[in-house]
């Protein structure tokens, strides 16, 4: 590096360093957003896996009492899967608080979930102490945020030869055409512009025609018309000389979101299933993390696109695992979500989309009893605040708001197989992922939905401790425990299958003679627990409801009541 270059780099670094950012006196807060955050992050662009890792570390360094960063495991190519644990570490124990799980980017081309997750961590930490609601939330709850659970293919999407739709999987090699070779015929950036766009060829028997007012735009001809062009697929050649083009690309087809351990079915029933549940290493790492964190009571897995708040079941055959009681909870959350994020619709995967087996949300709900949504981020509603804009309106958006930054103009190319063709079309960053100027807004609204979801996780309180003298040196102690929020400590599906252990309500420091659940306090219906009566096992503490337990004790000294729930936290009185 020449000395001039070093100086130049130095100047650039100085130019962007925080010392040159605004002083607090120069700022005025926009409502709802931290005005002078400790960590400055631009929310109108995307970050590579390493970029996200660096942001996570910065946030943790700036907020040591609120954010810790840890790696939950390694990706196929050996990258760390970073998790930001966000909570008020000075209040309570992490594992004794109900936890909310967020991940993004399971499909590698659906990148913005990572930025949305990161925005959430940033917003929570930067608002703590400034905003009462967030401050209280972090005292009570933990957020586990994994911005990307597919870092390898995230980078491949951004930097490799890929389109807006590839790769969807991770980077494990797959023999897509079953010819014995792996990833031997992928896309090729023929014109060397760093984008994989489309190939088209002039023909008098075509199905497409250039739009008269915008020659970059291709319209399908209708009815008995004949067009001027045919499409030949994405840029590429026949790399392996087998007579086919782009048939076995890098990051070939398997679907990390069909590889989870609930209702998993093999490839022939559903493409993408891979070998067996959690055979995708990134999924396995998430599974191990979730198994080790039974405090997770709510979850969000970000996808794109289309503006949807999805709940399961993924597959029609799995309807039984969503009972009426559980659906009531989902409905309440989903309907508020529709209000918070205009244009987004609350939908059911199998019914409103298609049957998807072995998805992440299926395992979270079916396998672990966690109330889980999957948001399909970015909606075309956001272009002009109306559903389903037509082709002209999309064109208007591209031209007048993106200034055609989305498009590579058609240019001639001499193709070894197809002869004279033209290459051009939309870039990969167009269509599925939020345009820069809409990114922060979409992130904020989706975060608000997850915050509401997290807020509604069980919050347990010991409402009442009643004592009654039974005579003969015996005393009856009846405790009422309430759950002030919408989500129960156990989903109905969880109770049926005993996925998570019961809630424990125990009395410490008393000489317990007998213990029981009180099923109906008014009518004195009880169910005695003979084994270990000082710790009563309660199958569930329903949302916005109370449960009662009772002990018959001999001594009269001081005692403590402890409610110990995996998903509802631990409270003492």
């Amino acid at each position: 590096m020449k000395i001039q270059h070093i100086i130049l780099v130095f100047i650039i670094i100085l130019g962007f360093s925080p010392s040159h950012s605004q002083t607090p006196e120069q700022l005025f807060q926009a409502v709802g957003t931290p005005v002078n955050p400790k960590v400055q992050i631009s929310w109108n662009r995307y970050y590579t896996a390493e970029g996200l890792g660096a942001l996570a570390k910065k946030l943790a360094d700036a907020h040591p009492n609120l954010i810790k960063v840890s790696s939950i495991g390694k990706s196929y190519e050996g990258r760390d899967l970073w998790c930001l644990t966000v909570t008020d570490y000075q209040t309570g124990q992490e594992m004794e608080k109900a936890a909310f799980y967020i991940d993004g980017n399971i499909h590698s081309n659906e990148i913005q979930g990572a930025e949305f997750g990161m925005y959430t961590a940033w917003y929570l930490a930067e608002s703590f102490g400034n905003n009462d609601f967030i401050t209280e939330l972090l005292k009570e709850r933990v957020f586990y945020i994994l911005p990307t659970i597919n870092p390898d293919a995230r980078n491949a999407y951004m930097k490799g030869d890929n389109t807006a739709n590839t790769p969807r999987s991770g980077m494990m090699p797959i023999d897509d055409d079953r010819d014995g070779l792996f990833d031997e015929d992928g896309y090729d950036d023929l014109n060397g512009d760093g984008e994989i766009t489309q190939m088209r060829r002039k023909t008098s028997y075509g199905q497409f025609r250039a739009n008269p007012s915008n020659p970059n735009r291709m319209d399908r001809v209708s009815g008995d018309e004949m067009g001027d062009y045919e499409y030949l697929g994405s840029e590429g050649i026949d790399n392996d000389g087998d007579g086919r083009i782009n048939e076995d690309r890098v990051g070939g087809y398997y679907d990390p979101n069909r590889n989870w351990g609930w209702g998993w079915v093999p490839e022939y029933t559903q493409g993408g299933a891979h070998k067996y549940p959690f055979s995708v290493p990134e999924n396995r790492a998430v599974m191990e993390f979730v198994m080790a964190h039974p405090n997770i009571a709510g979850a969000q897995s970000y996808h794109n696109s289309g503006g949807m708040l999805l709940r399961g079941p993924g597959a029609e055959v799995d309807q039984g695992s969503y009972t009426r009681t559980d659906i009531r909870v989902y409905d309440a959350l989903g309907k508020l979500g529709e209000q918070l994020i205009p244009g987004y619709r609350y939908l059911i995967v199998y019914k409103d989309l298609y049957s998807a087996y072995g998805g992440e949300l299926d395992w979270f709900h079916g396998g672990r009893g966690i109330f889980t949504f999957s948001n399909e981020l970015f909606s075309s509603f956001m272009l002009f605040s109306k559903q389903r804009p037509n082709a002209d309106e999309r064109d208007l958006f591209n031209r007048k708001l993106l200034f055609e930054d989305n498009f590579v103009p058609w240019e001639e190319y001499d193709h070894p197989v197809y002869g004279k063709i033209e290459i051009g079309g939309n870039k990969r960053n167009y269509g599925r992922n939020d345009p820069g100027f809409l990114l922060e807004s979409d992130a904020h609204r989706n975060m608000a939905f997850t915050i509401y979801h997290a807020y509604q996780m069980p919050k347990l309180v010991i409402e009442e401790v009643e004592e009654k003298d039974l005579g003969g040196g015996l005393k009856e102690i009846t405790v009422t425990v309430g759950n002030q929020r919408l989500i129960p400590t156990h989903s109905d599906h969880d109770i049926k299958n005993k996925i998570n252990r019961p809630d424990y309500i125990r009395i410490e420091g008393a000489d317990v003679v007998a213990g029981m659940r009180v099923l109906n306090k008014d009518l004195n219906q009880t169910d005695e627990q003979v084994y270990n009566p000082s710790q009563i096992e309660v199958p569930n503490i329903p949302g916005q409801s109370t449960v009662h337990v009772r002990w018959i004790v001999r001594s009269t000294g001081d005692y403590t009541i402890v409610v110990d729930s995996q998903k509802g936290g631990v409270v003492r009185k």
Binding site: D179, Y276, P277
Partner: protein, 551 residues
């Protein structure tokens, strides 16, 4: 620790005769491991031992890849034992077959090792199998993973107890007016469920041997537990049932065995020694086995292959007619077919023979007729005739803390004996199953290029024809395997030289499988004289290459 080189020699000299002589009972997992190591030392030229995983209990699961030359390029058969931990015969058969394959000097057997590869994993449930050799014996299927079998949040709080101190966990019967069980009219040692509709009255409560440690009214519902290999796989997996694990393929054992097999594209058949049966009696095709893209039973063409192989099996191994085909939810043989896409054959290897009522009228009087074909009574009578020992634990009274003042007796058919024959029968079963494995290999799919012809169309223009044929009787790909990318397609390549070009036909063809003896015509137009090469094959059915001179 570094051992003196003579140490291994000494072990070899001392150990080998000991192992051979000591066999009058089933081999424990450590012995099986030692035998595999022994074979490795003896036959390193034709086998390779791999370490599949170490279990939670600290035991190794070892694989043996047997065959000469480039094993992964030849059609392969995988042989798995121990999918059910209490099935001790399975590992014996698997390692016995390995020994025979390696030791044999027979020309046919040596040829087998030239033509095919055998991937043998004798014991996939070593933690469970160890229980047979423990001070306290019981039929255990689970590995050493800590499991909360009754899912109440408490771990192993109610195991079984050996109340009569005989070293076995068996059954206990409690005389009780609410009991649903009664003695069988033909043999009062055996209990059957009383049928109130027929005016039958129960006398006993039947429970596994032990006390109700956690006083929850349930007996022995959460002991050592563990995850069962044969309940932990993906086909018809049953979640949240004892032994099935938290999700399919949750265990090191299952996951690593699957990975081992997925890496071996050349495996065309899996032979499982375990509880599922489709050799004595094949799996059968029913309409509805295939609904859309969901496969819930064997497909039509594959059922025909299963029938053919079953018939060949029964020529070698005799089994009672009453044996029915079976499948198990989460089972390994089921995975091998339905989710690995290979031909899957499974048998316990032995069934309790059918006991025949003597024809002599005086002898006949000793035995009361058994109208319900009760299998326990069949076993007891057969065992007695065979002169077996310790196959029944006589009902003996015990004092039971949970049933004060009640008559509680421990007894019943001893564990293990209904599933595992007396050890002296094992050698013969190994011989017969080895012959079956040879038969299976000799029916393997084998790709051939036959009737290769060239025809001069014009000056320098040639028509080349060939017939791609499966010389074997087993299809190159199962119908299930044809449907997904875990089995390779048949690939045909036409290699040409500079100056030649293909005018018609493809350079590369990818075809679905060929049935047994099925063929497919190939034809190309090639311009330019000189040598061309036609290559055909897939890992599971071998490769063939033919050179043709165009001039």
């Amino acid at each position: 620790m570094k051992l003196h080189p003579y140490f291994w020699g000494l072990i070899f000299l001392l150990g080998f005769p000991l192992l051979i002589q000591a066999q009058n009972d089933y081999k424990d997992p450590a012995t099986i491991e030692a035998e595999i190591r022994q074979l490795e030392r003896q036959y390193s030229d034709r086998m390779e031992v791999g370490n599949i995983t170490q279990t939670e209990g600290g035991r190794l699961i070892l694989s043996m890849a047997i065959g000469e030359g480039d094993r992964d390029k030849k059609p392969g058969i995988a042989i798995i034992g121990g999918v059910e931990g209490s099935h001790l015969l399975g590992p014996e058969l698997a390692i016995g077959i390995a020994q025979k394959l390696l030791e044999s000097r027979d020309a046919e057997m040596r040829q087998l090792l030239q033509d095919y590869s055998f991937y043998i994993i004798p014991q996939v449930s070593p933690d469970a199998a160890q229980q047979y050799f423990d001070r306290l014996k019981y039929e255990r299927s689970g590995n050493a993973k800590n499991t909360d079998d009754d899912r109440d949040g408490r771990m192993n709080e109610d195991p079984g107890e050996d109340l009569n101190s005989d070293g076995l966990l068996s059954i206990m019967r409690i005389e009780d007016p609410t009991g649903e069980w009664m003695p069988h009219p033909a043999d009062d040692r055996v209990l059957i469920k009383a049928n109130p509709d027929k005016g039958e009255q129960g006398k006993y409560i039947l429970l596994s041997e032990g006390i109700d440690n956690d006083k929850d009214g349930q007996f022995n519902e959460d002991g050592m537990g563990g995850v069962h290999f044969n309940k932990n796989l993906t086909f018809k997996y049953k979640p949240f049932t004892p032994g099935s694990g938290e999700f399919p393929v949750s265990e090191k054992e299952t996951m690593n065995v699957l990975e081992y097999l997925y890496d071996r594209w050349n495996v065309f058949a899996v032979l499982t020694f375990g509880p599922s049966e489709n050799l004595v009696s094949p799996w059968t095709y029913k309409r509805g086995n295939l609904k859309g893209r969901v496969i819930s039973g064997i497909l039509e063409g594959d059922a025909k292959v299963n029938k053919m192989i079953s018939d060949l099996y029964k020529k070698e191994v005799k089994a009672p007619k009453s044996v029915k085909s079976s499948t198990h939810g989460g089972g390994f043989a089921e995975w091998s077919y339905f989710h690995y896409g290979r031909f899957s054959f499974s048998t316990p290897g032995w069934h309790v023979p059918e006991w025949k009522m003597p024809t002599d009228s005086i002898q006949k009087k000793q035995f009361k007729p058994v109208k319900d074909k009760n299998s326990d009574i069949n076993f007891l009578r057969w065992a007695q005739e065979e002169g077996l020992e310790n196959y029944f634990v006589s009902w003996t009274k015990v004092d039971h803390p949970d049933f004060p003042g009640k008559t509680v007796e421990v007894g019943g058919i001893a564990p293990f004996v209904k599933m595992n024959p007396p050890y002296e029968k094992v050698a013969d079963l190994v011989d017969k199953h080895t012959t079956f494995v040879k038969t299976l290999a000799n029916n393997a799919p084998k790709i051939r290029l036959v009737n290769v012809q060239k025809e001069k169309v014009s000056n320098g223009l040639w028509r080349v024809k060939a017939t791609l044929m499966n010389e074997g009787f087993i299809p190159t790909t199962s119908q299930v395997g044809d449907r997904f990318n875990w089995v390779k397609r048949l690939r045909v390549d036409l290699d040409i030289k500079d100056g030649q070009q293909i005018i018609s036909g493809q350079k590369v063809y990818l075809f679905p499988g060929l049935k047994g003896r099925e063929n497919r015509e190939l034809s190309w137009l090639v311009q330019g004289n000189g040598e061309i090469t036609i290559k055909a094959g897939a890992p599971q059915c071998g490769q063939e290459e033919v050179k043709v001179q165009l001039n």
